[in-house]
């Protein structure tokens, strides 16, 4: 018998001191800790965590998630009428505090003929880990609103802004503007002019390397020195045609006031000094260093395995982003970095941040589980694919070589070649897969679409071409989605989850393509704790 245990890491409103509380459906006492912790049997609605991977890179930039509220009763004293939670609602703060849902097995003691609570709650099966948004009560019950741990990815990335105080603080004209971040390799981006009097520009809030400075598209400056600090850079003496850098702090300075627009190519490092060499390195650095997500809250093992897989498919790929004077959210940047790989960021059952890849399941590939009519409940149904991929695409495109500043005409110096002008006039180059001619996708499906270009931060065209080809393999054939409802005991047995998002499974069930065994990818999970079932959305 399995108890659902909820832990809410509340704090006292008066002092901020930790004041966690604990709930359960059957009631549970964790006797493995001292003093024992009682998970009060007040829980009436244990919540859930529905997760769906975006189906196609143009249909979302992160794993979509919905969370059912956690609700519990507010038992009243039969004599005084006071509700157990009446005073706690006002004295505790739950907003922004950690919430976990754990499934813990009770132990049957045959000698006594009773269920006992012998297992640690921390050793139970994690079903949700996230944060509370707030709570409310109607007197008879209390409702806790929850969400996953990705809230930080939806906030603007940069929380440091120019003060306008001059020097490194920038002029009043750029006061309160976000300081730019550069991570990975970017090309022809427009730096932020922080000190017009000294022609000093900032290109990142961390160290940079491999800096090339252009004026009007021409790299005509000669590098004199690199200084350790902004102050030393500002104090240096430069002459016309020279530039100096402070790579450690992300600045450079010109020896003369430019006539044309200044742009640059560079590689940005992370605040720790880590130099990303691959897209997934940038993603991990963004999560850990820029978003402040502890490495323990990231499924680094899963992401590491994915990185190895992606490297085997596409090699190691240079990529990056530059925020300039904008302040995008991490989700926006992760979309730029991951969409071309058909990957999206989300959380696993443990609440850890993970990256999930939509794949074309190999019909004869290895599966982690097999589900048949012996496991699947009646009511399985075909689900419509999102617009744009309802029928196969005849053309898929991925952008590469992003041009941070599009330039043309008299914004460029006369010495810029025609070939360079062609590159600088476009925001990016495009790699494409297409299927035309007799027997092609376009011939078979006359209403087939040329899918929108998937924007990426990729530098190299060969990698972008591989990814466009992969997108063609993924979306150039008819795909299917099914929702399968299975008993919770099958999907979340006490031994651990049978499947997780992204798992490759075999399904045999009398509906559509599943009638003959089909290999599918799990792209959605909806554990309905109230209904004792888990709905899997599978893709093939």
């Amino acid at each position: 018998m399995r108890a659902i245990c909820v832990t809410v890491a509340a704090v006292l409103a008066s002092t901020g001191a930790a004041a966690p509380f604990y709930l359960s459906d059957f009631g549970y006492i964790d006797n493995t800790v001292s003093p024992p912790i009682c998970y009060l049997p007040h829980l009436s609605q244990p919540g859930n965590s529905s997760r769906q991977m975006p189906i196609g890179p143009e249909n979302g930039n992160a794993v979509g998630a919905q969370w059912g509220d956690i609700a519990w009763i507010n038992p009243r004293d039969p004599i005084t009428g006071a509700g157990y939670w009446d005073s706690l609602i006002d004295s505790l703060i739950v907003a922004g505090r950690a919430v976990t849902i754990t499934l813990v097995e009770k132990t049957w003691d045959a000698a006594r003929g009773i269920w006992i609570d012998a297992n640690p709650v921390t050793g139970g099966l994690a079903a949700f880990s996230g944060i509370a948004l707030g709570w409310s009560t109607d007197g008879d019950s209390v409702t806790l609103h929850i969400r996953d741990n990705l809230a930080v990815l939806e906030q603007p990335l940069q929380d440091n802004f120019y003060s306008g105080a001059g020097g490194a603080g920038g002029t009043t004209d750029i006061a309160n503007q976000p300081i730019p971040k550069t991570r990975g390799v970017v090309t022809n981006v427009t730096p932020i002019l922080v000190d017009p009097a000294k022609n000093t520009y900032q290109i990142s809030d961390a160290s940079v390397a491999l800096l090339t400075v252009y004026e009007g598209g021409i790299a005509g400056f000669s590098l004199t020195s690199n200084f350790a600090t902004y102050a030393l850079l500002a104090a240096a003496t430069l002459t016309s045609g020279q530039y100096a850098t402070c790579l450690a702090q992300g600045y450079f300075r010109l020896g003369t006031t430019p006539v044309y627009d200044i742009t640059c190519d560079l590689r940005g490092n992370f605040p720790s000094g880590a130099t990303p060499s691959d897209t997934i390195d940038i993603v991990l650095g963004l999560l850990e260093e820029d978003c402040g997500i502890a490495s323990g809250s990231i499924n680094t093992a899963s992401i590491g395995a994915l990185q190895t897989l992606l490297a085997s498919l596409y090699g190691t790929n240079r990529s990056g982003f530059y925020t300039g004077s904008d302040n995008p959210t991490p989700i926006d940047l992760l979309s730029l970095l991951l969409n071309a790989y058909s990957c999206s960021v989300g959380t696993d059952l443990n609440g850890k941040v993970d990256i999930f890849q939509l794949v074309s399941p190999n019909p004869v590939g290895t599966t982690v589980a097999e589900f048949t009519t012996a496991h699947i409940l009646d009511g399985a149904q075909h689900v419509d694919l999102p617009d744009g991929v309802v029928i196969p695409n005849w053309r898929r495109s991925v952008s590469f070589q992003p041009n941070g500043t599009t330039q043309s005409g008299n914004t460029l110096k006369p010495g810029v070649t025609q070939a360079q002008r062609q590159v600088l006039a476009k925001p990016y180059a495009i790699a494409t897969w297409s299927s035309t001619g007799g027997g092609s996708v376009r011939a078979l499906y006359p209403t087939s679409l040329d899918a929108p270009i998937v924007l990426s931060g990729l530098i190299d065209g060969s990698a972008a071409q591989s990814m466009a080809t992969n997108l063609g393999a993924l979306w150039g054939v008819q795909r299917h989605l099914y929702d399968l409802s299975l008993p919770r005991a099958v999907i979340l047995p006490s031994s651990g989850p049978a499947v997780e998002l992204g798992a490759i499974i075999g399904v045999t069930f009398p509906i559509g393509k599943l009638a003959a065994r089909a290999v599918c990818e799990v792209v959605g999970m909806d554990p309905d704790f109230n209904g004792d079932t888990v709905t899997l959305r599978v893709f093939l």
């Binding site: 018998m1 399995r2 059957f26 009631g27 006492i29 006797n31 001292s34 003093p35 024992p36 009682c38 998970y39 009060l40 049997p41 038992p75 039969p78 004599i79 003691d109 000698a111 006594r112 003929g113 009773i114 269920w115 006992i116 012998a118 048949t372 009519t373 012996a374 496991h375 699947i376 409940l377 009646d378 008993p487 919770r488 005991a489 099958v490 069930f509 009398p510 004792d532 079932t533």
Partner: protein, 266 residues
């Protein structure tokens, strides 16, 4: 067989009572035994497997009815069937000058998790009650109880009618696959019963029956002993909430009826 007995005046929950213990883990004091459900309950400190719970009623009170006697019981326990139990009633804390059950063994039955000691009719008044539990072989290394009762019983002059029910129930959810396989989402057993008194007197209705409706109704716990003299007392007794309490009916001249249903409190 004796007539059924009902216990509805519980000194564990009475407003004038002070419940204490000799050992409890933090947050698991014996005062929790007044709670309506079996958690958090009372639990001894790890390693303590012989200890006592006391009730100070404030003044000398009758723990046993003059005719039906009384009962003291712990429910939702983790006791082994080797546990020994003892109840003492006294004029001072821990004293046995009013009543001493002596150390009783073999009370706790496998699968029921409860231990009840009857107090004989005619036992005098006492201010203090001490319930001592010894369970030296308890594998949990502590002893705990979720609910408790201590107080007098009421025995109607005529027993409940034939057709009374008493037994285990289970509300586990069963999912059936398309292939016919069943998967059970297990929920705990509980016991329940239904019984009807069809030969109550007017004084019983105006006294005990209405007292039960007034003080407990369907919100608080009742001790139901179908047969206090039964050798299966520990298996038959249900401590729980009244789930059905029809209004008493005046069915014939001098005859009143009352239907009850009870569900074990978990």
């Amino acid at each position: 067989m004796s007539n059924a007995a009902l216990g509805y005046m519980n000194f564990f929950t009475a407003s004038g009572s002070i419940v204490s213990d000799q050992s409890h883990a933090t947050g698991f004091g014996a005062a929790n035994l007044a709670g309506p459900v079996g958690l958090p309950g009372w639990q001894s400190v790890a390693g303590v497997k012989t200890t006592s719970i006391d009730i100070d009623a404030g003044v000398a009170v009758s723990w046993a009815d003059a005719a039906a006697g009384g009962a003291v019981g712990l429910f939702r326990t983790n006791f082994t069937n080797g546990a020994n139990l003892r109840v003492r009633l006294g004029t001072t804390q821990g004293a046995s000058d009013v009543y001493d059950s002596g150390i009783l063994t073999g009370v706790v039955q496998v699968g029921y998790g409860q231990g009840i000691i009857l107090i004989p009719a005619g036992t005098g008044a006492a201010r203090w009650m001490r319930f001592t539990i010894g369970d030296s072989t308890n594998p949990d290394n502590f002893i705990r109880a979720g609910l408790a009762f201590a107080g007098p019983l009421w025995q109607p002059a005529n027993n409940f009618a034939y057709g009374a029910t008493n037994g285990f129930q289970n509300d586990s959810d069963v999912q059936v696959t398309r292939g016919g396989q069943e998967y059970v989402n297990e929920k705990p057993n509980y016991r329940s019963g239904a019984f009807a008194f069809q030969l109550l007197t007017a004084s019983e209705v105006n006294g005990n029956v209405n007292d039960i409706d007034r003080t407990l109704s369907i919100k608080s716990n009742l001790l139901f002993l179908p047969d206090p003299a039964s050798s299966n007392l520990q298996k038959e007794a249900i401590f729980g909430r009244i789930t059905k309490s029809d209004q008493s009916a005046h069915s014939d001249f001098g005859i009143h009826t009352k239907n009850y249903a009870i569900r074990e409190r978990l």
